[in-house]
Amino acid sequence: MRTLLSVIFIMTFLATGYSQDLLPNSSIQGDFQTDFQYYFEDSLIGAPNVPEKLLSNGYLNLLFTNGNFNAGIRYENYQNVMQGFDPRYEGSGIAYRFAEYKHKDFEITVGNFYEQFGSGMVFRSYEERSLGIDNSVDGIRLKYKPFSGVYLKGFIGKQRFFFDKGPGIVRGIDGELSLNEFIPKLSTSKWRYTIGGSFVSKYQEDKDPIYKLPENVGSWAGRLSLTNGKIIFNTEYAHKINDPSTVNNLIYKDGEALLVNLGYTVKGFGLMLSAKRIDNMSYRSDRTATGNVLMINYLPALTNPHTYTLEAFYPYATQPNGEMGFQGQLSYKIDKGTLLGGKYGTYVALNYSRASSLDMQPINDTTLVMAKGTDGYTSDFFALGDELFFEDFNIEITHKFSSKVKAIGTYALISYNSDVIEGHTDGMFYANVGVLDLTYKVKPKKAIRFEMQHLWCKQDEGNWGMGMIEYSIAPKWFFAVLDNFNYGNPDKDKQLHYYMMSFGYTRNAGRISVSYGKQREGIICVGGVCRNVPASNGFLVSITSNF
């Protein structure tokens, strides 16, 4: 704590009046967030007794800038860790600190940093606070632009592991060539051409008395991007050498991944097609790590990230051990002045995504697929497996009826393999979800919004209904009341209401929101990475501020 206060004092001093003479043009910026929740035990919904009653997660970022020099810290406080986040975060301290200097085409960072190579399939360090993910690297990063259009990056360091660091060392280099910048003749071309390549390696000592484990595990990737005003095409292929780990059940097979995106966009019309193949691509700086820790790479999800509660009941988590995924998205605006477009036009968005298993074949007649301490399996690159992991077809229609009334209607058909996605043994869930979202603008700054949702499902917890009323006074206030009702639960004792009341107030760069109610146990996902959220009953207060 003393260290933190010293750092804050020094940074404040540097950025305030006293330092203006010494360091003109310096500035300090920051943001603050704290969430705290008061818990009530509720055996009906499975909300456990929380001995502390009140739990809190808090974050403060400070960034000091002076010309080409930046330095910053993030203080984090978990006392104790809120339910649903990894309890190993417990405690407080400076979890992130760095200094950075830029000089012409050269940039050096020491301390913690976030970075991504290409789409992230061989390296991505990032923070996703809502999931409790922070795999920042603590080390040295260099960036260099030797010629116009050539961008080089290199780093070495260890990844954050709660308030410590993981056991493995990660190092990598990345090069990207923008042909339009590099070749003068192409500078005026409508097409933008970019190629890139990465190499990343991790080192972790092998102390295992049973298996011979590789201490250095390398991975590489190559990528290509072509775009013009209407068409976008990008692809990346990644390969990883033998990397037996807890996630892949200690198999020695090489890993590989391919991601392809193709899009076409003109005014009022957009089409995006994406496909991927992921084969044994879990890559962590601790081979025994599980959960959302020490991940070196990021495997993107090709599914629609639903925002409505019941549509988001069954989210998809990318399966690093192997999956074939496809997604198609079509958006179209029906012109205003037509029968379906009305006075303001109508937006239609169609989305279809599917993820299934790889076609995994045993390596010989006597070895099971994925058997520990073997090469695991063989798999034809283009063959699809038989097992469906996830499928989602959804449509969203947005129509403005008048200057006061706007409606959004969505419908989703979701197939969800709980065995694969949650690691349970409850089989497939098939859900149909319908949503109607109506907004009525009472006055220019006052609006009332109704959400009606229904989920039909014959498995899991059965049918759910949801209703919400929200009143907002822009830009400062909102008030909301909602109820999720699990009226179709096959267990009559669990046909429960999950009420929630909330309000929020925003002033300048500060915001406070308070909610009270019950939350069901579930899973939240961001970009195909998920965490389990336990059931809870209580007050939640969130405060954010930027300065």
Binding site: R88, I173, K212, N216, V369
Partner: protein, 283 residues
């Protein structure tokens, strides 16, 4: 000029690509050096937090038993059922494998909130956490067993079939100095309980569940509380010896005493790290 600049990058690329270790078959170690011949050996407490509804847990039990086989007599396994996966669910999962002490340990160390299967190896903290994944147990166990023992535990046990009374005598000889209080704990475990267990590893058994799974080392309770008794306060010196008697009665007929063990371990009261462990059959 451009080519010359690019040449500087080639050594970096060569260096980078050399950072790969390809492993050829066989993938297993020879293990010719894992059995020290000393009279007294370091013994490890491995607490496996599990649940009968946890599909990944049978594979973790296999790791524990591999270690038991690799280091005979040097691994004391205690299987602790606690958390979400230990709940009783009709129709097949109606045996309550949990116990007060197990739940208290799970709550204290936060194991099931991190996820099952996971465990503690001598309750030692690594990178701020004591919770260790099953595939890391072998490395951590090997690290411990590479060290000389700090103490020796000798046990004597008498059990009265009629009353269920247990008289346990413990002799502890220290070979190293410790500055903190030393605690002693005696856990009762039961083996060979045949019951349902969820499973997703076909190499271990049928999926998605094994109807006749053999549950081993199940923690049934403690003879002297979750955290045990104080063996000595104010630290110990090498060559110090201590004796302790622990008496306890179990309800006859509750458990199969033919398949029960007592696992005794001593630990540093401040760091919670286990110093030595030992096991004896109840009968």
């Amino acid at each position: 000029m451009k080519i010359k600049k690019l040449l500087y990058i080639i050594p970096i690329l060569i260096l980078a690509f050399s950072a790969c270790d390809y492993i050829d078959e066989p993938y297993t170690e020879g293990n010719g050096t894992v059995n020290p011949t000393d009279t007294v050996k370091r013994k490890i407490l491995l607490e496996d937090f599990t649940g009968h509804q946890c599909p990944n847990c049978p594979a973790a039990a296999v790791v524990a038993h591999q270690l038991e086989a690799l280091y005979p007599g040097q691994i004391q396994i205690v299987t602790i059922h606690a958390g979400f996966f230990s709940q009783m669910v009709s129709p097949n999962y109606l045996i309550d494998f949990t116990c007060t002490e197990g739940v208290a340990l799970d709550t204290y160390f936060g194991v099931s909130t991190i996820g099952n299967p996971n465990g503690l190896v001598n309750r030692k903290e690594y990178s701020g956490s004591r919770v260790i994944g099953p595939n890391d147990w072998p490395s951590k166990v090997a690290e411990f067993l590479a060290m000389e023992p700090d103490a020796d535990i000798n046990l004597g046990c008498s059990y009265n079939d009629g009353s269920g009374a247990i008289d346990l005598t413990v002799d502890v000889d220290f070979f190293s100095d410790f500055s903190n209080d030393i605690m002693i704990c005696a856990f009762l475990t039961e083996d060979s309980i045949i019951a349902y267990q969820k499973n997703n590893d076909p190499a271990v058994g049928t999926t998605p569940e094994i109807a006749n799974y053999t549950h081993m080392h199940v923690l049934r309770g403690s003879m002297n509380g979750t955290w045990g008794d104080t063996l000595t306060t104010g630290g110990v010196s090498a060559n110090d010896s201590y004796q302790k008697t622990i008496n306890y009665s179990i309800s006859t007929g509750t458990w199969d005493t033919e398949h029960m063990h007592i696992v005794v371990f001593i630990y540093d009261a401040t760091t919670l790290e286990v110093i030595q462990s030992e096991e004896i059959k109840l009968k």
